[in-house]
Symmetry: C2
Subunit: 259 residues, 2 copies
DNA sequence: TTGCTCCTCACGTCACGTGAGGTGGC
DNA sequence: TTGCTCCTCACGTCACGTGAGGTGGC
């Protein structure tokens, strides 16, 4: 065995940008416990714990409650699985960056509008508030879907080897959707149908045997009208693009939906 | 008077991307109360409240506690003051975007390192955790300075016409610092001394009569060694660049510091 | 010895969320 | 009338933070 660096709570807290209290708390609830203790009873953290802590923080930033993370996060100690996690984290951060950039664009539009008209466009102001809100807690899957559905998605995510993969796949798919929709691609075109196939497979793999979830996930939450009015058109993209694309896809492939 | 659109809690919540419960809660604590009620006692929000809500959310995103916002946030209802707020919010979001981009760069470096060596660099992993942490709660001024100093800065911020201005100025200055430091600019050069003058004026205007704060703010927190190890070199930038620049500035201008 | 970090335990806090039981408005 | 939104009140919860009183290690 090679020498392993060991950190005390204070050192680890500093290096990870959190408080000692937080780490002590995480130990208490069993989320991330030290690998061992010193003679005097001080917490000592090693490689294994640092990796787990990184993963736990990432999942927390996606909006998962600590209890769920504690119960379901499996150790991912190989270099390969860590790479996978880092890749997903990068995707997530890029998505978050794009969200914030949208918010900035919205602000610029709004200031231009105020300069032009001298009047305050309230709906723009509310749209900014909403956009910033979304940018901050980037677990927007968790915001857009209703609780039961999210539970199922999360459950499914944690059943996989790497929960980050599943969350990242949603992320990537939604980014792709926005790209297609903004680019004005026809949902019935080859490109649109390729997307429909991906979406269908994703939903089918998550819903598994459960037709109820299948139904609600296909329309991306079913109660789409209750979604918050977001910056620009994710709602519209889902309704107009996914709706039409999936409709054709199902027709073409003779898929039978449970009514 | 022109017709004003009035929103119920549900409508407003949807448009701002928050829950009805949150708005009811904000009313209860007196943070944002409806402008009036309907006959049946339902909350009705107008223009004034929407503007206040937007400002309150922005300050909250900077890390201010709700109670403080409630007590100190003055209404900013003119188009001009709203423009100012939006400008600061844009700067803040851009800062946040840059932070996240740094985090992404760090992740890419780390994956490259893993691919090269096959080994997991723990310190990089902790640096990522720390960077993401900072990107999420962008009130990094509040993280970097100690509590008493922050209280003073915040107090000063709220004494101004527009608290966003002060926070935004810090933001801009720190961004400028990072730029100079990364660009390898000499702190004793003309450019460096220009920056030193700005920094000095900022600190002097905040510290006012208070020499204690002046001292600690000049070294940017005084207990700089206790700062978290951030992604790359904010700490170093402060110590090496600001330290040297201010030293020369004070010498050149014959400024007397209280010991 | 001094200063700093760390320990546990009990309690506090911040920003909401959750029903329960009822009313309002198209 | 039905379905939906909204009301208040009391209580719950999540993720920590705050002392108090003490020990450990360079």
């Amino acid at each position: 065995m090679r020498e392993e660096p060991l950190y005390t709570v204070g050192e680890l807290a500093k290096k990870c940008g959190v408080s000692v209290r937080t780490l002590q708390f995480y130990d208490r609830i069993g989320l991330v416990s030290p690998g061992g203790r010193s003679e005097g009873g001080r917490r000592l953290y090693g490689r294994r714990e640092i990796i787990r802590l990184h993963q736990a923080f990432f999942l927390k930033s996606l909006g998962f409650p600590l209890e769920e993370i504690r119960d379901k996060l499996m150790p991912a100690e190989t270099a390969a699985s860590l790479m996978e996690t880092l890749k997903r984290q990068e995707e997530t951060l890029n998505g978050q960056i794009r969200y914030l950039q949208d918010a900035v664009a919205l602000i610029r539009q709004t200031t231009a509008e105020i300069e032009r008209s001298g009047d305050i466009p309230l709906s723009s102001l509310m749209a900014i508030t909403s956009a910033v809100q979304l940018g901050h807690s980037y677990a927007f899957v968790l915001k857009y879907f209703k609780k039961d559905d999210v539970e199922k998605m999360v459950g499914h995510a944690f059943e996989q080897e790497n929960p980050f993969t599943v969350m990242g796949d949603w992320q990537a798919m939604i980014d792709r959707l926005m790209e297609l929709h903004r680019g004005g691609v026809d949902p019935e075109s080859a490109e649109g149908q390729e997307f429909a196939a991906q979406w269908w497979n994703m939903v089918a793999s998550i819903s598994g045997e459960n037709p109820d979830f299948l139904k609600s996930a296909l329309s991306a939450g079913e109660d789409i009208e209750n979604w918050p009015d977001d910056a620009d058109g994710f709602k519209v993209a889902i309704r107009d693009f996914v709706g039409k694309a999936i409709e054709k896809y199902i027709r073409d492939h003779g898929i039978q939906l449970p009514e």
